[in-house]
Amino acid sequence: MGNILEFVPGDSFLHRLNPITKIVLAFLFCICSLLSNNLLIQVGLLAFLMIIAFAAGIGEKAMGLLRTLLFFCILMIILQLIFMRGGVGYLVLPGGFPLVTSDGLYYAALFTLRIINATLPLLMMFAITQMNDLTNAMVNRLHVPYRYMFILTTAFRFIPILAGEFHDIMDAQKARGVEFDTRNIFKKIGLIVPLCVPLLVSSVKKVDSGAVSAQVRGFSLRTRGAGYKAYPFRLGDLLALLLLAAMIVLLVFFG
């Protein structure tokens, strides 16, 4: 599996939106999914999201993200089936105890869709936005201090680097005969915990060298106006925001 936050290059309408618009849209979409208890509306929202994804050329990526979310969805389904006990019972056990209830099924479906609809937009946003653009737009337009945005960007950037490092350390241990392929999950965890020390040491080193490198390239000199690329708000941004705002209004009154 590649990095789930990785950027997918493209030149679609969505790609060309202002980075700030994109993040606001993602949050507005999350709000939409939280506003409605109607199963059909949630299905509609998901369908809309997928249409957007395919239109932006990140359909495959969106499907990949869905697969990543699958684990949480299954967990949610199980929990809802266990705890929502109402309505008609199905699969009745000998003692008259229904294994599954109609309420359980309904809420399982609703909450699964809601989880997807609330998380997918943000993940999709990262797929169509360069972290760098987001940083610059936030600093230039919203006057967020650069320091904080740099921390955020760096954190994102280090995820794959540290993951690679972790694999290297694990391979080194494997070569020394540590059995990471054990079936016993507790034993496996026990074997992985000691790896945290070398990982921590090397990540601190890497972060430090990153900081030094940014510093010698004038990190501390950067001003709010610094930025070669401009991030203007265009008509498309306005239209997209209006569409989402309209969806929210509709959902508040009719959802």
């Binding site: 950037r157 280090f158 794959p160 680097i161 060298s209 990190f219 501390s220």
Partner: protein, 286 residues
């Protein structure tokens, strides 16, 4: 110009001097190679030039380091960064962006150049380093050699007078290493940029640098033209640095009194030496 005099440094928390009694002058436009086993103080020495020692890495600092007459301890880091650019050992962690173009733009934006200036420099550096085709590529999709070129481009775009590189070919294959050295020589010759490069591959140093500095246990052991420095084969062995095989061969031939010409630094010169020795042998009837 870099002037280091009676400089020493001890990292706080460490019980030994990382750098001892360093006296070094590097003129503008020199191409200097720095070699030594790990822990010899090479990286520390490069850090003193950017002011990272003692401003970022704390410790006891003795003596003085002057870059273009500015004392690195007293001057503001920002003034120093405009003159000295550095490329670090770890390729991945020194990148700040995810796309090549953004990576090069980063320093330019920070130093507050005008938009026209930035675009002129960006276009320029893409051509100089021959990475125009990589412009919109994601950094994660590049090979080690390409990444290193981008890292160098990001520094060259700032047009420093001095570039300090810490083992830039450490993670590269021989061909990419060679490319990096060719590139550095081009920058050195065409733009007069002073290059100080820390490098383990002695063959490359012999071939490309004007001047070689050997460090051991925090001190400078040898300093001079590569041809003069590599002659000290026994000291090199004591320290633990491999000398090129042509040099070893030359030493053995000299010991036997078969050769007394100049020390060969690459395979071609080695070939010439061997031919000469063989010819001499034939004359002597051996």
């Amino acid at each position: 110009m870099i002037e280091i005099s009676k400089m020493g440094f001890q990292y706080s928390g460490s019980d030994r001097m990382a750098l001892r009694d360093i006296n070094l002058t590097i003129q503008d436009g020199e191409f200097v190679g720095l070699i030594g086993v790990s822990g010899a103080g090479k990286t520390s020495l490069t850090h003193t030039l950017t002011g990272m020692i003692p401003h970022h890495y704390k410790g006891d600092f003795y003596g003085s380091v002057r870059v273009n007459g500015m004392d690195t301890v007293e001057c503001r880091g920002e003034d120093l960064y405009r003159i000295v650019g550095s490329v670090f050992q770890d390729i991945d962690s020194q990148m700040v962006a995810s796309v090549v173009e953004d990576e090069i733009l980063y320093g330019l934006e920070n130093f507050g150049f005008s938009r026209e200036e930035i675009s002129e420099r960006l276009e320029n550096v893409l051509d100089t380093l021959g990475i125009r085709d990589l412009r919109y590529r994601a950094l994660s999709s590049l090979s080690g050699g390409q990444k290193q070129k981008v890292a160098i481009a990001a520094i060259v775009a700032l047009r420093p007078q001095i570039i300090v590189l810490d083992e830039p070919t450490g993670e590269l294959d021989p061909e990419s290493s060679l490319q990096i050295f060719r590139l550095l020589r081009q920058l050195n010759k065409e733009f007069g940029i002073t290059v100080l490069i820390v490098e383990q591959k002695i063959m490359l140093l012999c071939e490309y640098v004007d001047r070689m500095i050997v460090m051991n246990e925090g001190a400078i052991v040898f300093d001079g033209p590569a041809r003069d420095v590599v002659r000290h084969t026994s000291t090199f062995e004591d320290i633990g640095i491999n000398v090129p095989r042509v040099v070893t061969l030359c030493g053995q031939l000299q010991k036997k009194g078969l050769y007394n010409g100049q020390v060969p630094l690459n395979v071609e010169e080695g070939e010439k030496m061997v031919r000469e020795v063989l010819r001499g042998g034939r004359h002597a009837g051996i």
